[in-house]
Amino acid sequence: MMDRVVGIDLGTTNSLVAVLDDDGPRVLPDPETGARLLPSAVAFLPGDEVRVGQTARALAGERPFDTILSVKRFMGLGLEHASDEDRRRYRFAEGSQGALRFVVAGREVTAPEVSAYVLRELKRWAEGSLGGPVSKAVITVPAYFNDSQRQATKDAGRLAGLEVLRLVNEPTAASLAYGLNERAEGTIAVYDLGGGTFDISLLKLRGGVFEVLATNGDTRLGGDDLDARLMDLLLAELPEALRAHPQIRAQVLAMAERAKRTLTDAPRTEVELTTPDGRRVQRVIARDEFEALVKELVERTGRPCRQALKDAGLQPTDIEEVVAVGGSTRVPLVRRYMEELFGRPPLVRIDPDEVVALGAGIQAGILTGGRRDMLLLDVIPLSLGIETMGGVFTRIIDRNVTIPVSHTEHFTTAVDNQTSVDVHVLQGERELAADNRSLARFSIPIEPLPAGVPRLECTFLIDANGILCVTATDLRSSRERTVEVKPSYGLTDEEIERMLEESFDHAEDDIQQRQLREARVDADTILHATRTSLARHAGRLEPGEGDRIHAAVAALAAAREGEDHIRIRELYDQLSTLTEPFAQRIMDSALQEALVSRPLEEL
């Protein structure tokens, strides 16, 4: 059977994989657990062990630096783009040029490598569900992603062993799912507030053609930011000395996220924090208070929406439907704000967490000829240009132009016997090159001749993925010239090749074997930790607790020697649940010793 092409939503918080069947697109779940959403979390453990998804997310509290939770925020960026909060949250390799590198469990990884772990897991899900190999995919990206961020996503796919047939903009993918489902026609707005990014896209749907009129957004605004505001609110309830503690921050962040979800349906929620000295701090959060806290963030989506309308030459009243995409559009305040912007309540008939993946699945079907009636015409989100004399940014392709698009530019030399022409390509809307995002430097070799004599024709082509490709021709010889690309924040082809070779060295020949090995490693970790704790902190055991733990330890130790990884997992979970109160007592006391105690403000 032919290789199926899957559609992947590689999200900030969660990722999904979908495929197009004869009766429409469907999400492919984890064949073992039935889960449809894979948390985009990757945890690095000592000894080259890596955890992905739910198990990784659960490790964030324990191993905050080694667990990357929102890698998408770092795709295609350099170290200089990391914020202070990012630096508190993760460790980065200092002084490195180009793509940013995380330091995890004693090694360095780039964002595309981290994302590749998520993609590999989704590939495994898809292969399990479809019962055959999957090697080709359509992957979605925020519409407002620049060239570097797109390239980084494509690199991640390659590292995961997937040929990326197309990158599709998330709001556009969502419009495909809606268009197919609702047979919609007319002008629509897709408002996509995800975990870490915001996009607005305005589209015209007509006769199966989905034409994007304008797009705008903010690649650093999403549900994560709402969580961070709530986290700060809760941290303020704790003694100051505890607030910077990475593990406590990670735990409070998880509570904040839960509280946000609860407030979607409930007018108020109560959060209970246990301080290391055993005191419980209760904090009631009313929805009003939450809304006041995040109002400014939500309203930050207004400017991109107005700009997109202006670029498309539309008034809010021209918009016939507003589609809500992304988990954060569940927040009632966000829905009200959408209604305020466009004068009509948003459509939420498709699960906002799944709609992008379903659209990606449809696009995969379009590419393989399964849906010849539908066609996407997307745009480039940010203007593209080159640096010219005096550091000026000279725009050569305007934002919101339909892709593919090409532009031809002519160059010559400024000094005698110059042997190459260097072109610095940037993306953005500012007047000065330095204020825009550097994409790459291209070096084009030329024959040494007197200044002004060489004639070089350079073509800048943006393909249907929104990715730039530069070709050059020496007009005097009509010979095509090779263009050497130095990506500013990306990986070179050689780096990707090297990473691929390394991953082949670690390649897993058999999923069963790998799962068994992983289960054994986890079992060994918990067995070792439990035995050590029992020996050192026997005094903290409650009556009867020691016997129960010893029995569970013995059972897991026996299963660990067998071949049944599912059994090992079950016993692992049992032991883990059983030892939780004991571990909490130990941790509390350890922290307490490390702290200058300070009375807590009572509520």
Partner: protein, 218 residues
């Protein structure tokens, strides 16, 4: 005559095909003839008046034929041709759909481009230009005072109105010119003059909008 025939032969299936963007037989994208202008790309006659609905229909049909999404599984040459043909189709639609873009392109096509920067104020709009510049200066001097902002707001509305009027007038002229000889030297001269007036006022409108977007003074 031989070269003529070869141009009409599909590179992919070697069968004779018309001047269409894709082969009539195997649907492979064809290289655009070097002389093809943007009207030809969408199969339109060279005329200044374009029916927007017809243009959009042609654009969608051409996109369905050449877009890279339709040629994903073909060979490398097919994919490369699909990419360049698709870029040409997009450019044609983008250029021809607005009367101003079409006018500018018309001048280029006839070897008499509008030119990037024209510092001479066209006489027909001189009064409006000078008045607006004075008011912009007043706004700057007052550092964004409310009264001056209101004045500039009115100026913006006037400019927008004037631009709409000028564009409508131009479109009316397109029909007249098409009926006579749209490539005639006097037509090109008048087109250039009208387009430079519009270009001048558009730049001015941008300045006004930028000034209005600036900081407000209490």
């Amino acid at each position: 005559m031989r070269t003529e025939t070869r141009e009409h032969e599909c590179w992919h299936c070697s069968r004779r095909t018309g001047l269409a963007l894709v082969c009539l037989h195997c649907e492979a994208p064809q290289p655009l003839p070097p002389a093809a202008d943007l009207f030809a790309v969408l199969g339109l006659p060279r005329r200044l008046v374009v029916d927007p609905a017809d243009l959009e229909r042609r654009y969608h049909d051409a996109s369905r034929a050449v877009h890279p999404d339709r040629h994903q599984s073909t060979d490398q040459r097919g994919r490369a041709l699909s990419l360049s043909a698709s870029a040409a189709v997009n450019r044609a639609y983008r250029t021809l759909r607005e009367p101003l873009g079409r006018g500018r392109y018309w001048l280029e096509l006839h070897g008499s481009p509008l030119g990037e920067r024209n510092n001479r104020v066209p006489p027909a709009v001189a009064a409006l230009v000078f008045e607006t510049q004075e008011q912009l200066e007043a706004l700057r001097d007052s550092r964004g005072a409310a009264a001056e902002r209101r004045t500039i707001g009115t100026v913006r509305d006037e400019l927008e109105e004037r631009l709409r009027g000028l564009t409508a007038e131009l479109e009316a002229r397109y029909a007249t010119w098409d009926a006579a000889n749209p490539g005639a030297a006097e037509v090109l001269g008048e087109l250039k003059q009208r387009l430079s007036e519009i270009a001048y006022l558009s730049t001015l409108l941008d300045d006004v909008e930028q000034a209005l977007a600036g900081p407000e003074h209490a």
